[in-house]
Every structure is written in structure tokens, then in C-alpha cells.
Amino acid sequence: MLLIRCPYCEEERPELEFRNAGEAHIARSANMAGESDDDFEKFFFIRSNPKGIIYERWRHMHGCARFFNAVRDTVSDRFLLTYKAGEPKPAKLPGASK
């Protein structure tokens, strides 16, 4: 079982308590009605789905119930870093291979 560090509970908890909530750092337009169809499609449907480092939202569903962000390697499934929701994308990743 994976252990995921919840930045609000400040400790590692078993993965069963968590839910994935899609890609992180997708900014919603302030003027949604003025979006072109192409821009809306990009915002709403198109996800990066990289092989390697991905920034995701996770929720500590059966714990503190808070959303937070996590950096995960999709190849090894290793969590490199987790940080609170609203914090900027970390510039430096610990233990990143590339």
C-alpha cells in the first residue's frame, strides 16, 4: 500500500484514505462566457497525461477531507512531494531523476 503525506495532517497516511481529483494547476477563466470554443475545450477536456512527473489534486477523503496537490511520477507511482492547495507549483522537486 502506498503511503501519501497529507500536508494538513502532517503525516503519511495509507492510500485507501485518499482520492485522486485530477490534474492540478488548471486555471478557470474569470470570464467563462467569453471563452472561445477552442479555449474552453482546452480548459475542460484536454489534460497533459505525461509519462513522468505529473501535478495532481488529491483529496484526503477519509481523513481531514481536504484537497491538496501532489507531484507524482506516473512511471514509478512514487510521490515526490505534496503541498497545500493554493500554494504555487514547487520550483524544485526533491529526488527527481530528471
Binding site: 500500500m1 494538513y8 495532517c9 502532517e10 503525516e11 497516511r13 495509507p14 485507501l16 484514505e17 477519509h62 481523513g63 481531514c64 477531507a65 481536504r66
Partner: protein
Amino acid sequence: MAKAAAKKSAAAAPSVERRPALAGQELSATGVTLAVLPPAERISLRAPDASVAALSKALGVTLPQKPKTSAAKAGRTALWLGPDEWLVIDEVGKVPLADCAEVTVLHSAVVISHRNVAISVTGPAAAATINSGCPQDLSLDAFPVGAASRTILGKVEIVLLRTASDAFRVECWRSFSDYVFTFLSEAARDAAA
């Protein structure tokens, strides 16, 4: 006359009749005992940092601010569930909602007394029993006496509180209580073996 008497007793009875789930169920296995705890008053409390001091004063118990902790005073326990969320359990029949109602600071308090059922798991094999369905580390280092956490047991969500080194209080939703008690009963037999 009989009519008047009936009216009087109806007025004296509580407005909501309480029908405890699992009432009186018990199970003893080697090293662990399960018991359904008596009904209690509970609220789900949400409040920002600025309101915590005033609410703590009104409730008579300091709302814990550290993750996975709880505070207890005079039969009332406040469990930290999230950064702005607490479960307050009163076992002596006082209504925590009434205390919150006197507070003017921003908060949300919802009575969930009848939503939850509490099961006590006691004995040297208590941690092993709960660990059969709960993936958290329940060693005394990681989950000391007084530690509290929302977590899962088997397929359902529970709130777990360690009341002594060999005693836990398992709070679950009433509709899940049958599942939880059966799950713990099976686990208790395994832990005993």
C-alpha cells in the same frame, strides 16, 4: 382523566424518540471485548481560526488545533477531524449545540447525535482487531492515547478515538453500524486466535 394523563406524559417525553441501533449488543473474545456505547450528544462543528477561542470557552473544552488529537473535559470530547472541523461528543447528556448557540462568532454547528453509533473496542487485542480493517498505524507511538482520526474500516468511514492504551471508541454512521459491528466481531475472533 386518562386523556389528561396521556397528554402530560407525551409532553414530558423527549420530542424525538431515540431508537438506538445495535442496542445492547456485546461480544467477548480472548483479549478483546466489543460493546455498543450508550447514546450521546454530538455535533459536527466547523469554524475558522478566529472563532476557536470563543467556541472553546462556550463548549468548556479547548478545541484541539493539532492534527490527530482530541481534548476531553467533564464528559465532553472534542476531536480534531480537519483544519477547521471538529466532532464534539457529550456523554453526560448536555447539549453542545445549546452552548454554541450562545456564541456570536462565525461557526457552523450541526447536531449529528442520532447519525452516529459508537462501539467500544477494549482489551490487549483491541488494536489488532481494528487493524484488520483499518490501515492506520495504531502503535502507541503513532496513535497515542487521546489520538483521534477519521479513517476507514473495511469499506466504511469511521472516526477512531483512542481512549486508553488498550481501548478505542469507534464512531460510525448508524446505517453502517451493523456492518461495522459484524466486521469487528469477525476481526475480534481472528485477533483472539
